[in-house]
Structure formats: C-alpha cells, structure tokens
Amino acid sequence: MTGFFGGKVAQYALVLFVTITLNFLLPRLMPGSPLAYLAGEDVGAMSAQDRARVISDAGLDRPPFEQYLTYLGNVVRGEFGYSFQQKKPIGTILLDRLPWTLLLTGTALLISTSLGIVLGAIAGWRRGRRTDLAALAVFIFLESLPGFWVGMILVAVFGVQLGLFPTFGARDAFARLTGVDYWVDVGKHLVLPGITLVAITVSATFLTMRYSMLSVLGEDYVTVARAKGLAEPQVLFRHAVRNALLPVATVFLLNVGQAVAGATVIETVFSYPGVGRLMYEAVLARDYPLLQGGFLMITLSVLAANMLADLVYPLLDPRVVKRD
C-alpha cells in the first residue's frame, strides 16, 4: 500500500524537482547575461543603480549554488518573482488566471470523458458495424485536427457570422452582472472554447474505451451473463462497461496533460484569461520570468491532478495496490 503511493509521490517529487531546476538553469545557461532574461530587454537602457538593484534582487552577484537554494526557497514560498512587463508579482498574476484555466479544462475534461466513455462503449458493442466504423473514422479525424484551428473556425462561424456565442474573454467585463446572470454569462463564454477542448481530447477516451470494451466483451463472465438470459443493456452496463472503464482512468491522467496543453493554444484563440493565454502574452512580450511562472503553475496543476487520480484509482481497482 505505502509502496504504491510512496513510489508515485517520489516520481512526482522528481518531476517537480526537474521542472524547478530547469527553470533555474534556463536563463543562466543562455549565451549572454541572464539579466536580459530576468529583467527585460530594455535592461541596457537602465541606470547603473537600477541595474545593480536588479542584479542584487535576482541574486546574480552570489555563487550559483546559493542562488539555486534561494530560488528553491522562493518557489516553495510561492514567490515566483516579478513580471517586468505587467508590473506585478508573478504569484498574484498566476492566482488571478488559474481559476479560469481550471474552469475551462475541468468542464471540458468532464464532458469529453463522459462522452468518450458512452460513445466508446456503444462503438465497442457494435464492433465492425456501420455505427462503429463511422464513429471510429470521425474520432481518428478529430484527433488529427489542430485544436487552435478548430477554435478559429468556431469563432468565425458561430461567433462572428451567426452571432450565437461570445468569442472573446471569459465574461462580460462591462455589463456588471451579478448572481445568476453573471454565471449565465460565464457559461456562455465557456461554450466555444469548451467545445474546442472537448473536440481535441475526446478521441483518446473514445479509442481506449472502445478497445477496452472489445477485450472485455470476449471475457467468460460476459458470456455467462448472456447465457443467464440477461437483457442486452444489462449485460452491457452491469457487466461489460464497468470493467472496461479501468483503462480509461489511466487515459484520463494523460488527458489532463493533453487538456492543459490544448488549453494553452485554445485560450489564445478565445482571449480566455487563463494561464495558457498568459504564456502567450509572455512569449509576445519576451517576459521570461512570467513564462517560467506560467510553466511552473501548469506543471503543479497537472501533478496535483495526477496525485488525486492516483488516490482515487485504487478505489476503482484494488488490484493495483495489492500487486505491489
């Protein structure tokens, strides 16, 4: 029991360590002074005092190992540094943006997982029939679409031409809505980016669920259930689907990373004020500390989601813990 979780925790700790170390090393390993990466390209135009202040703030005048320890300490305390472009502490900016990304990816993952499970189960059950083949073709096609492009097309068709949904931002900032109206507005803004994110994450769940159904339907207990004379829906949902769900849980984990990655570009298309859009803004402004903060925040969220799923998974399938 402890071995299973211990191993997982060690793995995540390792990922976190690698991420933080990479963040520390990148600006310092690049050719030229790390100053431009840490304080912006106009560092050349600074006065000597300002420059000295930036250097001592960033600790660049101290030995590398000490810098590293300071950096680790800062990250642990949630101090990600200062964005020279937005003139705000990066931690504050990230906390402003994070809820929107969580809302978008969370909603989309919920929908795409349920959709993938139901459709995958049906396709597996109708294996080789027309329904199955059509679904398979559609989902393989969906998996080949660039997410941001799907978003652009949706904006053009449903937003601009048909005027059905808002295409910009996460809420109407000028309408000063409250209560239910506010949430309806937020929901409307969520529709198009949500659909885009569902479109690019649903295939993985669908394909896994379908394949898993195919192997489960060949099991003896399914034959027994049929032989008992159970109605087909009962065989399907009571006996087959439940067991076929297990591999989907694993894919869900990979999908979390996939959704977060997808959100980075999709938020850009819809100007959705999440962490992904923030990274795009940071790229355009060459605001490296902000870029690094965004990356760290996304990694932390993905790790947290992974840990959560690891805690839940043994409840679904006790065998994973016993085996270790």
């Binding site: 080949s144 492009w149 097309i153 601009v160 694993t250 570009v265 940071a282």
Partner: protein, 310 residues
C-alpha cells in the same frame, strides 16, 4: 494522445513472429523473409500514403507549382480570391496559395526531423534499457516517466522561447520531448527478444553485447521503430503548428502554423477572409497529420498488435 491508440485485434494468420511465445528458433534470413511477406498495407495505409504523397510532391516541386514567390508582395493586401490569386492575399499582399505550398516544405521538414530525433532517442533508450536492464534501465525508465508527466506543450513553449525560433531548434525541441513513447515500445520488444533462444545461443557461442545488439536486437526492433517514427511525425506536425501559431515559428521560413499565426494576429477570422486564409492551412495540417496517422495505424497492425497493449 500518448499510449491511447486503440489497436485493431490481429487478423487471423497475421500474428507476427515476435509475439509467438516459444516459437522455434529461426535463422535471421528466414525471419526477414517472413517479415517481408507480412508488410502489406491495408486500405487505411494506402489512403495515408496517398495523402502524404500529394503533399510531399507539392512541397518538393514548390518552385514550379507555386504561382508566386511567397515572400514578394504580388497583389493588393487583403484581396479576396481571384483568378490571379486563387486563395487571395494576406495583410501585406503576399499570395496565400504560394505561402501554403512553400509552407509545406517547412511543416513537413520540421515534422519529419523532429520524428527522426524522437525515434532515434527513443530507440536508443529502449534498446539500452531493455538489453542491459538493471540500473541503466531503471534510470532510463524513470526519465521516461518524468517526460510523460511534464506538460509538454508549455515546456516546448518555454524552450522554444529561450532557444529562439529556427527550423532546427523547433525540430530539436519537439524531438527531445516526444521520445518517451517509442522508448517504452522498443524496450518491450527488446525485452522479449533478448530472452529468446537464438539470442541465448549467440551469447553462449561467445558473441559480445555489441555483436548481439547489432545482428539480432536492432533488426528485430527496426520495423517497430519505423511504425513509431510515422506516429511521431504525425504528432510533431501538430505540435509544430501549435508552436508556430503561438508566434514561436521561424519568421523567415513560414510554415502552415505561421500562416495561421498571422491570420489570427490580423483578425482574419473576424471577417469573411477566414474562408480562404484560415480554412486552407488548417485543412493542410489535418491532411498531413491524418496521412501519417493512417499510415501509422496500419503499420502498427502489421508490426505487432500484441505488444501495443500496455
């Protein structure tokens, strides 16, 4: 996307040599002959190959096929499609069709280069880990776990932003982050191969590790690595498009993703221009990705259906 491709169950009679436990030892030549007989693409594979061939031909013959030099201003900015410019022009009067034909070179080159890097790294890691086991294997597989968990697109954005935009950098950054899957797949093949009788026999006869790896392990891994390469190319093209769309593409050598970056930056999808400026590049990306994906699906089926189940 990783690990999730469903594999059609093996057709009767097509069980590959490697998947048969306890098969009698076969001479390498006979083995190769058997493999050769099985490489027969199905309809999906042919469809994929046809899609790829079309795009590749256009890319190779770009100077003759493209109506204009995509770097030159050859028309009024923002013009709609006409006889002179089939897909209209962009914000500075460059011909969009020519941009797309030349862009095929960049998109395909980065996709294929990244896949080469990823496959090479993955195969090396898989072969070393699977053959030598022990600490080497443990280290490599822990690295694979780390690479699989880190959110790769944000990491790519970070790396690409630091290293600067160029075709080589992009291919390298993508390649370095997609090798985890081939490493796992190749490792599982190597694990099953190195336990086979003929490898034991070779070792008993005094072959060194280098000779065994070269003569027995590598050939058995190559077909699998090729299938992985095709799948990686499919993913890499999508990733390159995403990076270029975020403004991290090579500004001198425009790819399909960069065309979309400019279309987005100039608000093309807010006017009717999206029909000729946004739609075609996306369709081309999809065609290339789908082409590689279909070919890859089919190759996976041929190479080894059972080892894919993890």
């Amino acid at each position: 996307m990783i690990d999730t491709r469903a594999t059609p169950s093996p057709r009767p009679g097509s069980a590959p040599v490697a998947a048969r436990p306890g098969a009698e030892p076969v001479a390498p030549d006979a083995l190769r002959a058997r493999h050769a007989r099985k490489i027969r693409l199905g309809p999906a594979g042919w469809a994929g190959l046809a899609l790829l061939a079309t795009i590749t031909l256009a890319a190779v013959f770009a100077p003759w096929v493209a109506p204009y030099d995509p770097r030159q201003t050859t028309g009024q900015p923002f013009s709609a499609p006409s006889a002179a410019h089939w897909l209209g022009t962009n914000d500075i009067g460059q011909d969009i069709l020519s941009e797309l034909i030349w862009g095929a070179r960049v998109s395909l080159a980065i996709g294929v280069l990244a896949a080469v890097v990823g496959t090479a790294l993955g195969t090396a890691a898989g072969v070393l880990g699977g053959y030598f086991r022990g600490r080497v294997d443990a280290f490599l597989m822990r690295t694979v776990d780390v690479v699989l968990v880190v959110p790769f697109l944000p990491l790519m954005i970070l790396l690409a932003a630091y290293l600067g935009p160029s075709v080589g950098t992009l291919a390298l950054v993508i390649g370095v982050l997609v090798w985890a899957r081939p490493a796992r797949v190749v490792r599982s093949v190597v694990l099953s191969q190195s336990a086979r009788d003929y490898v034991m026999a070779a070792r008993a006869l005094g072959s060194g590790s280098g000779r065994i790896l070269r003569l027995h392990i590598l050939p058995s891994v190559l077909s699998m690595a090729l299938a992985e390469f095709v799948q990686l190319a499919s993913r890499s093209i999508l990733l390159e498009a995403a990076l270029a769309f975020l403004g991290l593409g090579d500004p001198i050598q425009k790819s399909w993703g960069s065309v979309l970056f400019y279309a987005q930056a100039r608000g093309a999808f807010l006017s009717g221009a999206w029909v000729w400026w946004v739609l075609p590049p996306g369709l081309l990306i999809t065609t290339a990705v789908l082409g590689f994906a279909l070919l890859g699906f089919d190759m996976e089926r041929i190479v080894n259906p059972r080892l894919r189940r993890r």
